[in-house]
Each structure stands twice: as structure tokens, then as C-alpha cells.
């Protein structure tokens, strides 16, 4: 059996101020950058690693490669003009931004969204979750050298993008959930085509289970790796599957239901090991739940009805003074928009709470020491981070 046990004497000692004393001149350590251009990194960020042999002794998250100042861009635009930007805060699962922003604006301006629009919004959020998990599955297996899952998942995700395209008019940035409702109804025959995608997805997921989850190498490398002590959850603001893999059955969809989640039947998968494998497993099972949710929504949703509330003239739309925080359960955890209005035609402040901020910055830096260098990518992916939402 291979062992990663290293010579403890090579570890840096803790100095009197409680910090590690790393003397780069000693020749014992090496600085290594993983990212920003690296297949083992999730998007445009990087981790500055200090390694001792193949053991990571310190890791530091660096962001800034993607900073477009979204929150400030939003604060300089009228309320309707913000709507096309928000999706860009998170590329793989953009719809949460659209929903949270729209719901915040609706709450502060007292707009009631038609029932039909709420169902379509829920459908879109679940379709987004489906895509996000698909990307995760591919990334998680890919980071362990299992490239085939990534190819399958990209294919299945592409089929879902086709559904997005016919429903919203775009594949990636849908710009469909608008303050007031959604932009349109389901196209004819959508349910059947969606069922086709879901069936294909299930078929490939069966294979994923065999190739990834019942894989000796994958198990060996992920079980026990990247353990997050559940005691840390509260302090580090860990939410979503990262927390559920540690036995915390928290889910905004259940805990404070929004949209039509109170009318839907679904479980919150949990695990107890809190390692990479447990997190992958929780996501895999949640993806199965998502497939079930999409079926339920299409079956239960009303067949017709208005999808947009009456809006004031958006060209000079002013919203009374107020503030609100709208949250939802994204595929990565609690996602939220904090919106402050001051009675003018522009948002006074918008703050985006993306789960990646806490997971990939504070938590990752805490988890990384002691990891084997080849597991860093897997660890990073297992936290399911999307750098754009770190850099709003």
C-alpha cells in the first residue's frame, strides 16, 4: 500500500506569533502556482502553494483575474438595465443571479409575480442546478484523471442547453427571469423534449456511478481526503452540499421555501464523512433529486396564465427607500442578493453573496495544508467554486 506519510521533521515549525515559519532560502520549500491558467483550477483563480516535497504546507487563494466590478456596474445602471448584467456573476449557473435580483426588486417595489412565472422560474433554477452539477461531475472526475466523465457530462449539459435555448432564447446567459416575471411561456412540446434529456442524463449517470463512484482509484484518492470538520461549518459559513456531506441537512429550499418549492416533493441527501467522496456523492444524489424535481414541475405547473406582472415604465423606474436580502439554494450553497434602494432610479447598493467566496478563500486555505500536491485540484473542485462570484 502506498503511503503519503512524510518526514514530519520537514514540516515548518510554528513561530511565537502562531504563524508557520517558512524559510524559502532553506531549500526545503518550493513556491508553486496552481493557476490562473491550469487545468486543475476552477476558472480564473489561482492557489499559491508552498510545498515541501509533494506535501502542501501552505496554500493561499489569489483572485483578481476576473474582476469586472459587477456590483459597481449595477449601481450605475437603472433597475431594468441591471437585469442583463447579473447573470454574468456566475457563468455555469447564472439563473440564481437573475432570480435573486428580480425577487429583490419585486419585494422593494411591491410587485406581485404571477403564479405561472413562479413555476417557470423554479423550472429554470432546477435546470440550472442540473447543468451546474453536470459540470461539477465532469470536473471532479477530471481532476482525478478520469476524463471520460467530463465528456459525457458536457454532452448531457449541452442537451440541457438546447432546452434552455428553446425556452429562453440563449444557451448560457439566459436573461429570462426579469423583474416582474419571466419573458415567455414554455414552447410547444417542451415537456417531451425535456423528458428525452432527462432520460439520457439518467442513462449516463448510471454509467457515472459505475465509472466514478464504484472506482477503486477514485475511492482511494477521495475518501478521507479534504475532510472538513463539521465544527468549522458555522465559523466558515459553509453551506450547500459541502455542509450536507458533513451531516448538516440544511437547504434553503426546505428551510425557508421560496417560489413553489413548498409544493414540490424532494429529499435533501446528506452524508457523514465530510470528505471529497462524500461531497461528490451528495451532489450525485441531489442531481437525481433535481431530475425528479424538473419532472414534477413540468407535471404540476399550470398550463397557461400570465408570466409578467404589470411594471411601471422601466425607463424611469424609481424604487422607494428600502433594503432586502433574497436568498436561494444554488448548487453550491446559499446564494443571495442584498439590495438597498434609496428612492432614486438606481440601486444604492447591491451585494452578491456567492458561496464560492467563503468556500474557496477562507475554507480552502484552511484545508490545504497537509494535502498531497496531486490532490489539490480535486480538493478545490470538491468545494465546487465558481471564481466569478468571488469577484463581483
Amino acid at each position: 500500500m502506498l503511503s503519503y506519510q512524510t518526514d514530519r521533521s520537514q514540516y515548518p515549525a510554528t513561530g511565537p506569533d502562531g504563524k508557520l515559519e517558512i524559510d524559502l532560502e532553506s531549500g526545503k520549500y518550493l513556491k508553486l502556482w496552481q493557476g490562473p491558467n491550469h487545468p486543475g483550477i476552477t476558472g480564473n483563480m489561482s492557489v499559491e502553494l508552498t510545498v515541501c516535497g509533494d506535501e502542501v504546507v501552505e496554500g493561499k487563494t489569489h483572485v483578481g483575474y476576473l474582476h469586472r466590478g459587477f456590483e459597481k456596474l449595477m449601481e450605475r445602471r437603472s433597475f431594468i438595465q441591471v437585469f442583463p448584467i447579473v447573470c454574468r456573476v456566475c457563468v455555469p449557473e447564472p439563473d440564481f443571479n437573475e432570480y435573486c435580483y428580480a425577487a429583490a426588486v419585486e419585494e422593494l417595489s411591491g410587485i406581485e409575480v404571477p403564479e405561472m412565472a413562479n413555476w417557470i422560474r423554479t423550472l429554470i433554477l432546477e435546470m440550472g442546478r442540473f447543468n451546474s452539477y453536470m459540470m461539477y461531475m465532469g470536473g471532479q472526475s477530471g481532476s482525478m484523471g478520469l476524463g471520460i466523465v467530463g465528456q459525457w457530462m458536457t454532452y448531457v449539459r449541452d442537451l440541457m442547453l438546447d432546452r434552455f435555448e428553446e425556452l429562453t432564447g440563449a444557451r448560457v446567459y439566459h436573461m429570462f427571469i426579469m423583474p416582474g416575471g419571466v419573458r415567455g411561456h414554455l414552447p410547444e412540446g417542451f415537456e417531451d423534449r425535456m423528458e428525452g434529456v432527462l432520460k439520457t442524463a439518467e442513462r449516463y449517470l448510471d454509467d457515472v456511478e459505475k465509472v466514478m463512484f464504484r472506482n477503486a482509484v477514485f475511492k482511494r484518492r477521495t475518501k478521507g481526503t479534504g475532510y472538513i470538520d463539521p465544527a468549522l461549518f458555522e465559523a466558515y459559513g459553509v453551506t450547500g452540499p459541502n455542509a450536507r456531506a458533513g451531516g448538516v441537512a440544511k437547504d434553503v429550499r426546505k428551510d425557508s421555501p421560496y417560489l413553489v418549492y413548498d409544493q414540490l416533493d424532494f429529499d435533501i441527501p446528506t452524508a457523514t464523512d465530510s470528505d471529497i467522496y462524500a461531497r461528490a456523492d451528495v451532489r450525485y444524489r441531489d442531481l437525481r433529486e433535481t431530475i425528479g424535481l424538473i419532472r414534477q414541475i413540468l407535471q404540476k405547473m399550470p398550463k397557461d396564465g400570465p408570466v409578467m406582472a404589470k411594471l411601471p415604465n422601466v425607463m424611469h423606474w424609481k424604487i422607494p427607500r428600502g433594503e432586502t436580502y433574497i436568498k436561494g439554494e444554488s448548487s453550491r450553497g446559499e446564494f443571495g442578493y442584498y439590495l438597498v434602494t434609496d428612492g432614486s432610479g438606481y440601486p444604492r447598493r447591491i451585494n452578491v453573496r456567492g458561496p464560492s467566496y467563503t468556500h474557496a478563500m477562507a475554507l480552502l486555505e484552511h484545508l490545504i495544508p497537509g494535502t498531497n500536491i496531486s490532490d489539490v485540484a480535486g480538493l478545490l473542485v470538491s468545494l465546487h467554486t465558481y471564481p466569478p462570484e468571488i469577484e463581483r
Partner: protein
């Protein structure tokens, strides 16, 4: 971990026998039916309002001139920069006419980078006629309210027998809601004869800044209170919001501003500018909207202005032509009192040509403005039109305004299809209702109702009030009673059926069926057009001036052939208050220019 975990991954090999999941050539793939691809713009429906330019959050759209402006079309069209566009389609959603759409085309290869800045619908593209692509659902405009806030009015029962003002005006809440619908395209500004700052004063209503609103009104129109009630509002005909919805109630919003500012505040806000006195003197003949506007401008420029009015009170047709239920005399008086505050002297009961000669006016003043209005009714000249019971509308309205007793018989027939016909019919209808408890007035017109010159609202309200409208009947004779008490008086109107037709130039040239249908009447009122009373000019001046089909000829600034004489208002070209106000401004500007050249201001 078990042995199964070692072998299980090998099951993936079965995919070797399945078709590949990647597409070999994604370029030829057609996008979905509502894909947000390249823009299309239907040139026939685009009005160049620029809403797309305003809403674009990337400033990817600029409006550029492509044709000459037309009625209700700015002549501008959006040019889109694909270097900036993010395909959000807000421009499509906000489009006032639905002309801007997106095709589902998404590939475009060019070697010239500037080609991606193009004018959809003008720069021909292969996707111009493509039907698939993003269009808004049912072509509904959802980004603003499309329905007008209803104006509260007296019911027919409430207003049928009295002359109280029938329109109540908007409350603040209603006005703000209505003002909210405006997209500030400014098409109305170019249509308004005086180019009122309509989007700006509507914005003032939204902001609740009525002082600002009032000042904006007075920048262009000293008769805003009158126009806020009776303007023919051509601005509303071309309003961008009228496409797929109701036009903004521009007239009512103007009135709302005036209603919200108390008179004392109005006099405070509209002060005479602190300009030196020029020592020049100008005479204005006729205290109607044209003459008084010229007087207002000229007095504010520092000149002495005297307005001569033949009738008892100033206002011209605004007072003597428009009934009080549409325009209360108080409202008119308030507008006039602001003008008087500028130092304008109004001499009523002074008829030029009788009380003062034109020569005297010329010798005593540096310039003379003639704005005498159209106070003589044109007659149909059908047999019987001189008989007792035959009246003309203008004179009847004037007598009624003056408080004289006018006959109110049970059956009245009005000949005409313009606003004057509606005014006299509704006036007579009210008097009949008061006297007999029922309305017995009929309007008889040669044209069909869609061709009536009267405002639509006037026609609708007339019908509501019980006025009968008989269209497509040409009056032939006013028949008289042959015996009895009423011998020699009007008994009925003999008419022919009109068969509509048009000549080769598109003018109305109907045929007739001589069916001699008689419409019984105790009184027949002719409201078939008016003309100006130019007898005041005298023979010498009449000969010295230029005429065109009976109208005094002026240039675009109101100058006549004589250097000291200007003319404007209804008497020159009409047809309404706001056009007369525009004339007044132009005349004042021209006189200022003339006086400046002549001697300079002192």
C-alpha cells in the same frame, strides 16, 4: 473497497459501440425559434423614438438620421454596435412599435471590423426577412403601462343641462401614473406648433415639481390653461405610446400642472423679465390667442403694447366660440391676467376701422399686428337661409356668451361637421334639456362621420349627450311654414343623400341621390365655416396688401406686404388656438428683429 470497484470502471468501454456525442460541424446548426440573434428593424413601423437607445445598458445603440423626419417619425434609426451588444433584447422588449426584433441568425463573418456596426433594416442583411428569432410574446409592450389613466368627467346626466366644466382633471396620483408612461422621445415636441417642452413638463409632473412644470409651460405658451383644456392636441396623435396602447394624455397633464399651481404663485413665477424699456409701441388688433401671445412676448421684450378688442371682453374665439363647459371663462381670464401683468393694455369695445382708423394706428405705433380671427359665418346659401329660424353658429355662440336671450326651440338642426358644429349643437342641446327636459338637436353633415373635421372626443361626447348625427346628407333647402303662426319661418331641412366619391386629386367629390329627405326643424343653424372680417383695412390698404383666395398673404414670420403690418392667427391660416399662439410668437420675434434693425433698442 471491493473487487467490484476495480472492474466496474471498465463498463465505460461499452460507449465505444455508441455514436460519438460531439457534433462534427456546429456552424450550420440552426438556433432555436426564439434565439436572440442578429437584429432586424422593420422600417415601415419604426418611428425613430429612440427608446432602444435609452434602455441599452451597453450604449450599443445610437440613433442616426437616415431619412427626413415625417409626421410621427423622427427619421432616426438605431445603429447597433456588435462590439458592445450583449444580446439581452431589452431593446426589443421596450420598442414602442414592435419594429425592432431579433432573428435567430448567429454567425457573421467579415474582414472589416467596422461592418459590425450597422443599421438594421437599412443595411441589407441576409436575415432581414427571417421569421424565426426573438420577438416579444404577442407583440405586447410589457415594460410600461399601455393604458391611459381615465380622466374623471361628469356623467351625461350630470352635465346634460348645464354649462359647468365637465372634465374634473387628474389627481396628483393619477397624473403621476399617467406621466410615468411617457418615454420622452420628443416626437410630440416637433409636432406641437409651439414646440412645447412636453417630455420635460411631463417629467416635472412625475417629480411633483409643479413650479418647474409651470415655468416650462410658459416658456412656449402663455395660453397653457386654455390649451390644457381645449387644445386639439395633435401631439397625442403621433405619441409613441399610441402604438400598441393609448397615447399619453399630454393635454390633461398640461392642465394638471396649471391646476396644481395657485394663481398667486403663477403670477410670482411668471414675472416680467428685467429688461430696459425700449420706447417702442406696438398695436395689436384682436385679443385672441394670436394677438395676445404676440403682445405677451413683445411686452416682455420691453415694448409698450396696446391690444384693441372689438367685443366686450378679451379672448376672441376662446371666449366667444368655445362653450363654457369645455373652457370656463375663469380659466381664460387667468391666462389673460398673466399677460396683462406683463404690462399689456387691452382696450375692449374698440373696433378698428370704426372707432380708430388703421391710419391712426399706423401713425401712433411702430408696428401693427392684425389678428382678427374668423368671426363671420359662411353660409350654405341654400334657399331659405335668410328666413326667421335660420341662424349662424358663430353669432349664436357669441350672443349666448354675452348673456343675451337666444331662442331655444324644441327641434334644432345644425349643418356642419367641425368643432363649431359640435359646440353649437351641444350648447343648444343643454339649453333644450334645461327647458324641455330632453335634447332635440340633430347635426346634419355631407361627409361620413370618420371624415368629420371635429375632434373625435367632441363627436363622441355629442352622441353621449343625445345629439343625433345624420351623416352623408347634403342640405338643399330650408323649407318654410306656408301657413299658421309660424308662416315664413323655418320648418324643415330638405336634404339629398350623399354618395361619397373622390376626384383624381383625392379631393372629396361626391355624387347625390335626390331623395329629398326632410329633417323637421324649428331652427337651422349653419356651422359651415367662417371667414375673417377684414373690412377694417379700408380700400387703400386692401389694395396695397397681397391676397390669396380671400386670405391675407403673409410670409412665414407673419409679415404682410407692408413693412409695419403683421398678421396671424385664424384669420390667416388657422385652425386652432395653439397654431394662433405659434403665430403670435413668430410675429413678436419678427417685430423685435424689425424694431432692432430700424432703430435699435434704447
Amino acid at each position: 473497497m471491493s473487487l467490484r470497484d476495480v472492474f466496474s470502471p471498465y463498463t465505460a468501454w461499452k460507449h465505444v459501440f455508441e455514436p460519438p456525442v460531439t457534433i462534427k460541424d456546429p456552424i450550420g446548426r440552426e438556433a432555436s425559434d426564439i434565439y436572440r440573434g442578429f437584429h432586424q428593424n422593420d422600417q415601415d413601423t419604426c418611428i425613430g423614438c429612440g427608446s432602444c437607445e435609452v434602455i441599452c445598458q451597453n450604449a450599443a445603440i445610437d440613433m442616426v438620421p437616415v431619412t427626413d423626419p415625417k409626421k410621427g417619425d423622427s427619421g432616426l434609426r438605431p445603429v447597433i454596435d456588435y462590439g458592445r451588444c450583449c444580446w439581452c433584447a431589452l431593446c426589443v422588449d421596450v420598442c414602442m412599435t414592435g419594429s425592432l426584433t431579433m432573428s435567430n441568425e448567429y454567425t457573421w463573418v467579415e474582414s472589416d471590423a467596422d461592418a459590425f456596426r450597422f443599421i438594421p433594416g437599412i443595411d441589407a442583411k441576409s436575415w432581414d426577412d427571417k421569421e424565426k428569432g426573438y420577438k416579444r410574446e404577442n407583440n405586447e409592450r410589457r415594460l410600461a403601462a399601455t393604458e391611459r389613466v381615465d380622466m374623471r368627467m361628469m356623467s351625461v346626466e350630470e352635465r346634460g343641462d348645464n354649462f359647468e366644466e365637465m372634465v374634473f382633471g387628474y389627481s396628483r396620483e393619477e397624473a403621476v401614473l399617467e406621466a410615468d408612461r411617457c418615454v420622452e422621445c420628443g416626437l410630440c415636441v416637433s409636432t406641437c406648433p409651439v414646440h412645447m417642452s412636453i417630455p420635460d413638463y411631463i417629467a416635472a409632473v412625475r417629480e411633483g415639481d409643479y413650479d418647474q412644470g409651470l415655468q416650462l409651460l410658459y416658456e412656449t405658451n402663455p395660453f397653457s390653461e386654455v390649451c390644457g383644456r381645449v387644445c386639439t392636441h395633435k401631439c397625442e396623435d403621433i405619441c409613441a405610446a399610441a402604438h400598441g396602447g393609448d397615447a399619453i394624455a399630454i393635454r390633461w397633464l398640461k392642465r394638471h400642472i396649471i391646476d396644481e399651481v395657485p394663481m398667486e404663485r403663477r403670477l410670482e413665477l411668471i414675472k416680467k423679465p428685467d429688461l430696459p424699456v425700449t420706447g417702442k409701441s406696438i398695436a395689436v388688433i384682436g385679443a385672441g390667442p394670436g394677438g395676445l401671445t404676440a403682445a405677451y412676448d413683445l411686452a416682455r421684450s420691453g415694448h409698450k403694447v396696446v391690444v384693441f378688442e372689438a367685443l366686450d371682453a378679451p379672448g376672441g374665439m376662446m371666449r366667444y366660440g368655445i362653450p363654457e363647459y369645455r373652457l370656463p371663462y375663469d380659466a381664460l381670464d387667468r391666462d389673460i391676467s398673466v399677460i396683462q401683468q406683463m404690462g399689456v393694455e387691452i382696450r375692449t369695445n374698440t373696433r378698428i376701422g370704426t372707432d380708430i382708423s388703421m391710419d391712426d394706428l399706423h401713425s401712433q405705433h411702430d408696428a401693427v399686428v392684425m389678428s382678427v380671427g374668423l368671426h363671420i359665418s359662411r353660409s350654405t346659401r341654400i334657399p331659405g337661409c335668410e328666413a326667421p329660424g335660420a341662424e349662424n353658429a358663430i353669432e349664436l355662440l357669441r350672443r349666448f356668451t354675452n348673456g343675451e336671450d337666444i331662442p331655444v326651440p324644441e327641434k334644432v338642426v345644425v349643418i356642419g361637421a367641425g368643432n363649431v358644429a359640435m359646440d353649437i349643437a351641444r350648447t343648444m342641446g343643454r339649453l333644450q334639456k334645461k327647458k324641455y327636459g330632453k335634447v332635440g338637436t340633430t347635426i346634419c353633415a355631407r361627409k361620413d362621420i370618420s371624415m368629420f373635421r371635429a375632434d373625435k372626443e367632441e363627436i363622441e361626447e355629442s352622441l353621449e349627450e343625445g345629439i343625433e348625427i345624420i351623416e352623408l346628407r347634403a342640405p338643399q333647402e330650408m323649407m318654410l311654414h306656408e301657413e299658421g303662426d309660424k308662416k315664413g319661418c323655418v320648418s324643415c331641412l330638405r336634404t339629398w343623400k350623399v354618395v361619397p366619391g373622390w376626384d383624381e386629386k383625392g379631393r372629396f367629390a361626391p355624387g347625390y341621390e335626390q331623395d329629398d329627405v326632410k329633417i323637421p326643424a324649428d331652427m337651422i343653424v349653419e356651422a359651415t365655416g367662417q371667414q375673417a372680417d377684414v373690412s377694417l383695412l379700408g380700400e387703400t390698404l386692401t389694395e396695397a396688401l397681397e391676397w390669396n383666395r380671400g386670405y391675407l398673404q403673409t410670409d412665414s414670420m407673419g409679415r404682410t406686404a407692408l413693412p409695419w403690418l403683421w398678421a396671424g392667427g385664424d384669420a390667416i391660416k388657422g385652425p386652432d388656438v395653439v397654431n394662433a399662439v405659434a403665430d403670435g410668437h413668430r410675429i413678436a420675434q419678427s417685430i423685435n428683429h424689425y424694431l432692432g434693425e430700424k432703430g435699435g433698442t434704447q
